[in-house]
């Protein structure tokens, strides 16, 4: 099962490599990962997506919790949550394709953020499967370059991941 694990990490050099190292060392896979500072400059927020059965996910969360740099951890997929990923896609846009791409972008509530004589750069935000669906709709032949931010997530409602 796909899981979104989100953690508060000491904003220290080496902290990120400990998290990433844990996954390679123990043979777990990371599908996406993003990390940035939070409102508290001593903390970073790291969100990663991974695949595994309950046993594997339990081991992953236990080992992450053991890392001294990991301050707090939540498996967002355990409760209601909001998941977002940002994607920038450069697509071939010539002739009739230009209108077609524009229409498709509108359907996915994306934006064309850069225009060239033969290309559009499209920005789409949403859950990962929406981004996948856009790529499918546009078609492999048109896609020139894809940049995805990796998943960010936050729990719904009053629940807050903080110190």
């Amino acid at each position: 099962m796909r899981r979104i694990i989100s953690l508060l990490l000491e904003n220290e050099p080496g902290a990120l490599s400990r998290v990433v190292g844990l996954f390679s060392q123990r043979g777990y896979n990371i599908e996406s990962l993003n990390v940035a500072a939070t409102e508290d400059p001593t903390l970073s927020r790291l969100t990663l997506t991974t695949q595994g059965d309950d046993h594997v996910i339990e081991q992953i969360t236990k080992h992450l919790n053991k890392l001294i740099d990991v301050v707090k951890l939540v498996d967002l997929t355990e409760g209601a949550h909001i998941e977002r990923e940002l994607m920038l896609v450069k697509v071939r846009a010539t002739g009739a394709q230009r209108a077609e791409i524009k229409r498709c972008t509108d359907v996915f509530r994306g934006q064309i953020v850069d225009v060239g004589p033969t290309v559009y750069t499209v920005q789409i935000t949403g859950a990962s499967d929406k981004l996948d669906a856009f790529l499918e709709a546009v078609g492999d032949a048109a896609v020139l370059e894809v940049v995805r931010s990796g998943v960010s997530g936050i729990a719904r409602g009053e629940k807050v991941l903080s110190l």
Binding site: G21, Q59, N65, I68, V71
Partner: protein, 580 residues
């Protein structure tokens, strides 16, 4: 408030931490620290002949005393030489603080002379690590390092110290914190009451229980409580290689379990209906095929490390907490239950003990000798039994890795915790001799013997010189079979006796002459009838290092041996020709 340089701070912090020994080796990046030690430290520093030996000595000092071992090495090759020792300590959860020099901060990343990314290289084999970037951070970082190393599930911590921050010119306020708190680190202090209650009712209802005790009982000082619990319940106890001695070798003790475990211990595990695992981690050398492990048992697992629980074998009753506190809670609940009329099933237990005694009778290593008594050659098992006799079972025994290690674990009947010191998790050849040094320094009046093989001893034999310098009179019991014996055993059993590079073709040194060159005593023993007297003589030489080069039967194998792959714990070779 005193103003100190970074180097002085390191020296002073070790002093304030109550460190008894520093095991180390100097070099460019740590010269400021060494100068500070020279000027202001009263802590004895042991200059080993290789950084690996320094880490093993510090590690074994810790295993024997329960205190944290301290290592000081330079950057680059000094740091990388320490890696094997750090990994050894990590695998066996031994508290150790390794101070490594680093190139000056402005040179980091420039491939400077003797630069190695020590934090990166050591990352997967440390509990935690610090790169100290400012002088003023030194005291608190060292305090944190000691706290992290020794608390929770212990482990090695690396503190990487760039040369410039230890320079003698810049001085800062020095204040060694009494306590540190880390917001992201809070090891469990008590087991969950509800789980402990469940465990107690399982224990009381058990028909065929086994207590499976591990290194955590030694590390967590749970030996007395384990002994009390086992005796109150009249349950059989087996121990991992790491846990030997935590429960004494009495009649409730089934011996070691696992790969080369006792027949009765492995059988009891397989047939058990309740297994109480304490500070053990269901290592693959214990479980054999996990799917076939303890098919009929409910498993109670006590461990300080939540990640150790249900890692390979799912626990029915997981209890996260320190061994000593959880065991006291168990004992308390047990006596409450008894007051209310609850008790163990005495009839079932009597039946269980009868079954166990039958196994003991069939193939127990301590029931009657299972190796050839009439052989003219010295059997390695017999050498260990002689060692046990001569030292009255009361020595500290360190060991290397191989057949000699397994024979020592099987035949030296450990009655106290912290007496059996070996590299169980990593299986590091070269561990035993420096380990013996660390133990002997901590307990100068005790008998300390390193049981080794001619292969392993040569991996850190340079320490003979260290023992000369600091007068460390350990005894080296070299079970010389002329082979990398454990490798040979596997080649005999699985590769039709093709000895691919497991012998030395007459290149072994004359160990007696070799140790004499360092000023020590060497005794060679070839004849069975000479062994006991020679050993008595060796141990009578209290203040000399004695190297006993004992030539043993080269073709002996270690049994029992679990049959893998796909075997369960009851599938064992019991001798070269006999299997279960």
């Amino acid at each position: 408030m005193e103003l100190l340089s970074g180097g002085d701070m390191v020296a002073q912090a070790l002093e304030d931490e109550g460190v008894e020994f520093i095991f180390g080796y100097p070099g460019g990046a740590v010269l400021h620290i060494y100068d500070a030690l020279f000027k202001r430290s009263k802590i004895p520093h042991i200059l080993t002949r290789h950084e690996q030996a320094a880490t093993h000595a510090a590690d074994a000092y810790s295993r024997a005393t329960g205190k944290t071992g301290v290592v000081l090495v330079t950057s680059g090759p000094g740091a990388t030489n320490a890696i094997t020792g750090i990994a050894t300590a990590y695998m066996d959860s031994i508290p150790m603080v390794v101070l490594s020099g680093q190139v000056a901060t402005h040179l980091i990343g420039e491939d400077a002379f003797q630069e190695t990314d020590m934090i990166g290289v050591s990352r997967p084999i440390v509990k935690h690590s610090f790169l100290v970037k400012r002088q003023s951070d030194i005291p608190e970082t060292i305090k944190k390092a000691f706290y992290i190393a020794a608390s929770g599930r212990p482990g090695p911590v690396v503190v990487d110290l760039p040369k410039d921050i230890t320079n003698p010119f810049d001085k800062f306020e020095y204040n060694y914190p009494k306590k540190v708190k880390l917001r992201s680190y809070a090891p469990a202090t008590r087991g969950h009451a509800g789980q402990i209650k469940k465990a107690v009712s399982l224990l009381l209802a058990a028909q065929r229980p086994v207590i499976y005790s591990g290194g955590g009982v030694v590390q967590g000082n749970g030996s007395d409580l384990l002994t009390k619990l086992a005796r109150e319940l009249n349950f059989p106890v087996t121990s991992t290689l790491m846990g030997l001695g935590a429960y004494p070798a009495d009649k409730q003790f089934l011996g070691m379990l696992g790969m080369h475990g006792f027949y009765e211990a492995n059988m009891a595990m397989h047939e058990a209906d309740v297994v109480l695992a304490i500070g053990a981690r269901f290592d693959d050398r214990v479980t054999n095929t996990p799917k076939k492990f303890c098919p009929g048992a409910k498993i109670i697992h006590i461990d300080i490390d939540p990640a150790a629980i249900s890692k390979t074998i799912t626990a029915d009753v997981p209890i996260v907490g320190p061994v000593d506190s959880v065991l006291s809670d168990v004992l308390e609940l047990l006596s409450e239950a008894r007051k209310e009329g609850g008790d163990t099933d005495k009839a079932a237990l009597a039946q269980w003990w009868k079954t166990i005694d039958g196994w003991r009778e069939h193939a127990g290593l301590w029931t009657k000798p299972r190796y050839d008594q009439s052989s003219a050659l010295i059997k390695p098992q017999w050498a260990i039994e002689t060692l046990y006799k001569v030292t009255k079972g009361d020595a500290y025994i360190t060991s290397d890795v191989g057949q000699h290690q397994m024979f020592a674990a099987q035949y030296y009947r450990f009655n106290k915790p912290r007496r059996w010191i070996n590299s169980g998790g990593l299986g590091t050849m070269g561990f035993g001799f420096p380990a013996a040094m660390g133990v002997k320094l901590a307990f100068p009046d005790a008998d300390v013997a390193c049981v080794t093989g001619e292969g392993s001893i040569q991996m850190n034999i340079q320490e003979l010189s260290t023992c000369t310098q600091y007068k460390i009179p350990v005894k080296i019991i070299n079970l010389n079979n002329g082979y990398l014996g454990m490798v040979k055993q596997w080649q005999d059993m699985q590769y039709e006796g093709r000895y691919s590079h497991s012998t030395y073709e007459d290149s072994l040194p004359d160990f007696v002459k070799l140790v004499e060159a360092y000023g020590h005593v060497g005794i060679r023993v070839d004849k069975k009838e000479d062994l006991e007297d020679a050993m008595k003589e060796a141990f009578a030489l209290k203040d000399r290092l004695v190297f006993m080069d004992i030539h043993v039967d080269p073709h002996e194998h270690v049994y029992p041996m679990l049959i893998a792959p796909n075997g369960s714990m009851r599938d064992m070779w019991l001798s070269k020709t006999e299997r279960t």
